[in-house]
């Protein structure tokens, strides 16, 4: 089957056999290095389990320095780095795209020397800010609040690639869409593009005038963690704690840190030396909070 769809997302030019909704929505016109081509091919050979020199393995995935296979009942991905090709097979498109635009793109980035962080990224007061945290930490809502309230511009909503270039950690913009739950869409009167799925009350919103397709040097980091408390606690962290918290913010930490440990360690230690890092312990339920998290972060800039 001939490849028919071309997308430019993250740092990749993707040449794909299959139509991918999310990439179609996010494609930009940026010029890319041909080293960063990625071919996506549909395969029926889902029993192909051959991969040598496995470094990490669990019931979902096998990863070596050259390739990985991720397999569940209805999903199959096999990536071979040398030929820049990702073979896929799936029955449920939603789950397929969820894997592809999250853990798979993060992992393929690692093969290209990027260290993926679970983070949103924005620029405000001449500072490049990363807001890191796991799903549900509130990264997107805080990001959108910064855009609306403080006219911030942004680089990413959920994943940020970082790379050590000339002894400095550089970060890269990713998807222009921000994903917000219905309550936040209402609160900010956000302009909706699409639902993430017609049965889910979460929406893609986008502000083209505020999105920057760029590389940037992160200046200050905020790591958000959820706790069963009523008011947020903010503190600057340093030393071992700083590194440990940064490691926990790797996108799919277990895989990336095991297989690409050297590259990850170098990137995160340099990032740790290069930036201030604040830890924000936030309440799970924020309706009683005196100040919003964006106000709290703004005061630290």
């Amino acid at each position: 089957m001939e490849s028919s769809y071309i997308y430019k997302v993250f740092e990749f030019k993707i040449i794909s056999d299959i139509y991918i909704n999310r990439f179609s929505l996010s494609s930009t016109n940026k010029t890319l290095n041909t080293n960063n081509e990625l071919f996506i091919k549909y395969t029926n050979n889902v029993f192909d389990n051959n991969i040598s020199n496995i470094i990490y393995q669990d019931k979902l995935i096998k990863i070596s320095k050259d390739a990985f296979i991720l397999k569940q009942n209805n999903i199959f991905f096999k990536y071979i780095n040398e030929i820049k090709t990702l073979y896929v097979n799936f029955k449920e498109n939603n789950i397929f795209e969820q894997y592809l635009t999250g853990p798979i793109i993060a992992l393929i980035g690692a093969y290209k020397g990027y260290t993926p962080l679970h983070s949103s990224a924005l620029r405000l007061k001449n500072k490049n800010i990363l807001i890191l945290g796991n799903s549900g930490a509130g990264k997107s809502t805080i990001l959108y609040e910064f855009i609306k309230k403080y006219s911030a511009v942004y680089y990413s909503d959920d994943i940020v690639y970082t790379k050590n270039i000339n002894n400095q950690i550089i970060a890269f913009s990713s998807f222009p869409e921000i994903k917000l739950w219905h309550d936040s869409v209402k609160k900010f009167d956000a302009k909706i593009i699409n639902k993430v799925h017609y049965k889910v009350n979460k929406y893609f919103v986008k502000d083209d005038n505020k999105f920057l397709t760029a590389t940037f040097i992160p200046d200050i980091l905020f790591i958000i963690e959820l706790f069963n408390i009523t008011e947020p606690v903010v503190e600057e962290i340093s030393g071992g704690e700083k590194m440990l918290k940064l490691f926990n913010c790797l996108y799919r930490q277990k895989w990336i840190n095991t297989v690409f440990s050297e590259q990850t360690f170098i990137t995160l230690s340099k990032l740790s030396n290069q930036t201030k890092v604040f830890n924000i312990k936030r309440p799970i339920y924020d309706k009683h909070m005196q100040k919003s998290l964006s106000e709290i972060i703004y005061q630290k800039l």
Partner: protein, 278 residues
């Protein structure tokens, strides 16, 4: 030889019925836990556990896809476990979104924990941040669901509870998984024997030292102390402490006669069956 490894132990109950107590006890005896915030016993409705196992952000999937994934993830984990306890508050159903409600083929036993509905009403009211009268109405509501709001991010998946009586009946009348009913009050007043019965029904090996250790670790006073020291992540926002009273039949000093009557009338059959008569 059975085709599937039956390792799943369901710790099922209506909320505020002692599920966390049994969960901490089992976690101590099976996994030697000393941290109440890291019990190694997931909650079936937890998004975090699913995301950790499946490596994707599941909140962007429709509920039926999440349920498919949940069946797959729990089945996979069960295959590699000897004992896999899981906490659940949902009412029992055979099917959900046209798929089995639970990975039945990997399910070993249900420990159903029941507590008198009078004390439950008080504790559940505090948990929900609602009045006792509102909570009694919820306990009589056949369609009540926890974490139902799909318009904002929820830490948990929706958990249909049904009424208190329907909840008890659903688990204790099903025939797909063997079940054993434990009264919260027996855990309080006949602690050692009741916990031993739980272990025997789960076929979990133990000796007198491990049993005593797990009972002491999960004692109310110890849990209260640990919560004061380290906090407890599962505490409701409406509560100062999760481990709050730890007594039985304290409703007599709190509920009004009309509230007691309302609960009694709605749940008479089970109140009599489980010796909760006034």
């Amino acid at each position: 030889m059975t085709k599937y490894k039956k390792s799943i132990i369901w710790l099922a109950s209506y909320p505020k019925s002692g599920n966390t107590w049994v969960r901490i006890f089992l976690s101590r005896i099976l996994f030697k836990t000393n941290n109440i915030n890291n019990l190694n016993i997931p909650i079936y409705s937890s998004k975090t556990f699913l995301e950790e196992q499946a490596f994707i952000d599941i909140s962007e999937l429709p509920l039926e896809d999440i349920h498919s994934l949940r069946l797959e993830v729990y089945s996979e984990k069960a295959k590699y476990s000897d004992f896999f306890p899981i906490k659940i508050h949902d009412i029992f159903q055979k099917e959900l979104y046209n798929k089995p409600f639970l990975p039945f083929e990997y399910s070993k036993v249900v420990i159903y924990i029941i507590r008198n509905p009078f004390d439950v009403a008080i504790s559940f009211a505090k948990h929900l941040g609602k009045s006792i009268d509102e909570t009694i109405s919820i306990m009589n509501e056949t369609g009540y669901t926890l974490s139902k709001n799909t318009y904002k991010y929820q830490v948990q998946l929706p958990q249909p509870l049904g009424s208190w009586s329907n909840h008890v009946k659903s688990w204790t009348s099903q025939s797909l998984i063997p079940f054993f009913v434990v009264r919260y009050e027996d855990l309080l007043y006949n602690t050692k024997t009741t916990f031993e019965e739980i272990l025997k029904n789960c076929k979990i090996p133990y000796n007198s030292d491990t049993l005593t250790d797990a009972i002491n670790f999960s004692k109310f006073e110890n849990l209260k102390k640990l919560e004061q020291q380290y906090g407890f992540n599962e505490k409701s926002i409406h509560l100062d402490n999760f481990f709050n009273v730890g007594k039985a039949y304290y409703y007599k000093d709190i509920l009004t006669n009309s509230q007691i009557k309302k609960i009694y009338e709605s749940n008479k059959e089970l109140i009599i069956k489980y010796n909760y008569e006034l």
